[in-house]
Amino acid sequence: MAMFDRKRQPPSRTAEALRLESVTKVYGTGDGAVTALDGVTLSLPTGSFTAVMGPSGSGKSTLLQCAAGLDRADQGRILVDGEEMGGGSEAALTKFRRQRIGFIFQQYNLLPTLTVEENTSLPLRLAGRRADPERVRAILTQVGLGRRLGHLPDQLSGGQRQRVAIARALVTRPGVVFADEPTGALDTRSARDVLGLLRETVRVHGSTVVLVTHDPVAASYADTVLFLADGRLAGSLPAPTAEAVAERMTHLGDRVAARHVDDSSLMEV
């Protein structure tokens, strides 16, 4: 009965949208083992727009996948909207995800056989919730696609597809929206539109957005930038500008390179 009630109501908002406690993820075993995440602890308040940046191989994709429940962390706790992500079956994890987490990917990942409207309402249908057509249309109008409800993804431009993906991510009113390089496949103008739209969802609707990117310009749209290097948090930058982010990234690269040199010299000794 309690389960039933909880399903009916949208999950209640807590002040903390996402919390990671000493999350560790290791790929491979033995000598070939790579520590992708090394005890990452962080907390993101509800209604924040955070960018996660780092050089290639810094663990930012792993961070996103673990935090979003797409991959399992080896150690540590992950809480979304105050609710701990369990280590249950794939089905249990999926149900957790679709209730609390929204996704936006570089490659859109819209279903090619469904129209814009159908794609947007799909998460609701899959969760067995009633897809209110008015609400779906309202969200699509907000992202500027109110007149393309019946189009298939193939008939849309990249920027339009990404906006469908944003609408789809928001339709379930998730606790956190994860965006993985959402502008990676877009031209500058569409990218700017998409980033502006993401910022607007935070400002206007109080959504929480985590943006993983390697583009300083994209990161500058966020309220805060978190830097990641070698699987560890390497500082943050509030109210970022593209220049400041790029500057920090350059030095991050230096530091990582320096550490690698140290490591190899140690190995030789």
Binding site: T94, F105, N109, L111, L122, R125, L126
Partner: protein, 446 residues
């Protein structure tokens, strides 16, 4: 481009296995029966022996060629579709459509040659076995020696190669003609025309039965071929028929099946061309097996009841028909399993996307299962219609009844085989596909 073709055959033998298998089996069947032509053409063969051998070689040769063509066409279409990424890459690197066509056609020619070469040994043995069968029944004089020569080799290589090259040409033309990224919507008219032509020809064959004398020995040929052509026609038209039917059914399906029914109905409606590859073998399997088995049953009963002793001729025909049905069953099963496996594993990315949109693995399997059930029902229904269209005229002309005495057991067995194969392959493949984590499934393109 030929070096590319040889390289891809050598490096990715697995991909060509299905094509090789169908080329091999096709060549075995064709050469086994064509070797009867060689045997009959040898000097000193009496007219009776010669005639019985030539007739069966001709009948089965016809069936065989049709089957080989469809089997190879189905496996090739699937393998070309699977390689869309590679073909796109080649085009980006500067390959013209003609060069890609040459590559794919070259590959399938190589595979067909290999399949036929492998088939020579089994076909020689098969030819001997067949001749012994004829000798045992007394239809062919005992002293006749088996031969395996120009006719067998010529038709074996000729038909297999022609079918492969033709099928490859059609498959790749479809893949390269559309500009990359564009949605292939049309080309419905040619398809509809071909389907209608097959239906008309099939109806003609079936109706000709009424014009033939009721005791004519060859009476069976008309309804049998008619049923085959009807099956082919239905198979070609089925996807668009199914699409229209689903348009009406999508609401009730969504109501009954929830999100699974909703997704399943939409997938089927918008994937017409891919479904043709699955429906084709299913309809042909059901139609041909039903028609042949029941017509043969009626024929055997008629021979018994007409007071005549079963002549060696009748016995032979019975054996021959059962052999043909056996061949069809094996072929259609290969085609069905191949197309279903390929079509399902090709959807890995789509399954990943569904999971990322919030579908549990169980829900994805539910969608696949529902699609398979709808496909099976469609295939079995149309196949049964084609089969009955052949059975009833034959029964009416041969006996005084309309419906044959044979019970529904045979039909049920055919349905059961088709259902088990379809559901088993779809769900088994989908299950395996789901083992990949959803994020990886959507990023890995191939």
């Amino acid at each position: 481009m030929l070096f590319l073709a040889l390289r891809s055959v050598r490096k990715r033998p697995g991909r060509f296995l299905a094509t090789l298998l169908s080329a091999f089996l096709g060549a075995v069947v064709i050469m086994t029966f064509s070797s009867l032509h060689d045997t009959a053409a040898a000097p000193g063969v009496d007219a009776v022996s010669s005639e019985s051998m030539t007739i069966s070689a001709g009948v089965v040769g016809g069936y065989g060629s049709l089957l080989v063509f469809f089997a190879i066409a189905s496996t090739l279409t699937v393998s070309v579709r699977q390689r869309a990424e590679e073909i796109h890459l080649l085009r980006c690197t500067g390959a013209t459509p003609a060069q890609i066509t040459r590559m794919v056609v070259g590959e399938s020619a190589v595979v067909a040659l290999a399949g036929t070469l492998l088939a020579i040994g089994p076909a020689v043995l098969g030819g001997r076995l067949l001749l012994d069968l004829f000798k045992d029944s007394g239809q062919v004089a005992a002293r006749i020696e088996p031969a395996f020569g120009a006719m067998a080799l010529g038709s074996g290589f000729g038909i297999t190669l022609l079918a492969s090259v033709g099928a490859a040409f059609l498959a790749v033309r479809r893949a390269t003609r559309a500009p990359s990224g564009a949605r292939k919507r049309s080309r419905g008219r040619g398809r509809t025309l071909a389907g209608c032509a097959a239906l008309v020809a099939g109806a003609g064959g079936v109706l000709t039965t009424y014009a033939v004398d009721s005791t004519e020995e060859m009476l069976m040929a008309f309804p049998a071929y008619g049923a085959i052509l009807l099956s082919v026609g239905f198979a070609v038209l089925a996807p668009s028929l199914l699409g229209r039917m689903l348009q009406l059914l999508s609401r009730p399906l969504a109501a009954v099946g929830g999100a699974g029914g909703y997704l399943g109905a939409r997938n089927l409606r918008r994937r017409g061309a891919e479904l043709a590859g699955i429906l084709m073998p299913m309809i042909i399997f059901t139609g041909m097996a039903t028609a042949t088995l029941y017509i043969q049953g009626v024929e055997s009963d008629w021979v018994t009841s007409s007071g005549l002793d079963k002549t060696v001729d009748d016995k032979n025909l019975e054996t021959l028909n059962l052999v043909v049905v056996g061949i069809i069953v094996v072929f259609s099963c290969i085609m069905l399993v191949n197309s279903l496996y390929a079509a399902t594993s090709y959807r890995r990315r789509e399954f990943g996307q569904q999971r990322l949109a919030g579908a549990t693995p169980g829900q994805v399997l539910g969608v696949v299962g529902l699609e398979a059930v709808i496909l099976t029902l469609t295939g079995l229904f149309l196949g049964t219609v084609a089969g009955i269209a052949g059975i009833i005229p034959f029964t009416t002309v041969r006996t005084d009844q309309v419906v044959p005495d044979q019970g529904p057991a045979t039909w049920l067995a055919i349905m059961a085989v088709a259902t088990v194969v379809t559901l088993g392959t779809s769900l088994g493949t989908a299950r395996r596909t789901l083992r990949t984590p959803a994020v990886d499934a959507v990023t890995v393109a191939a």
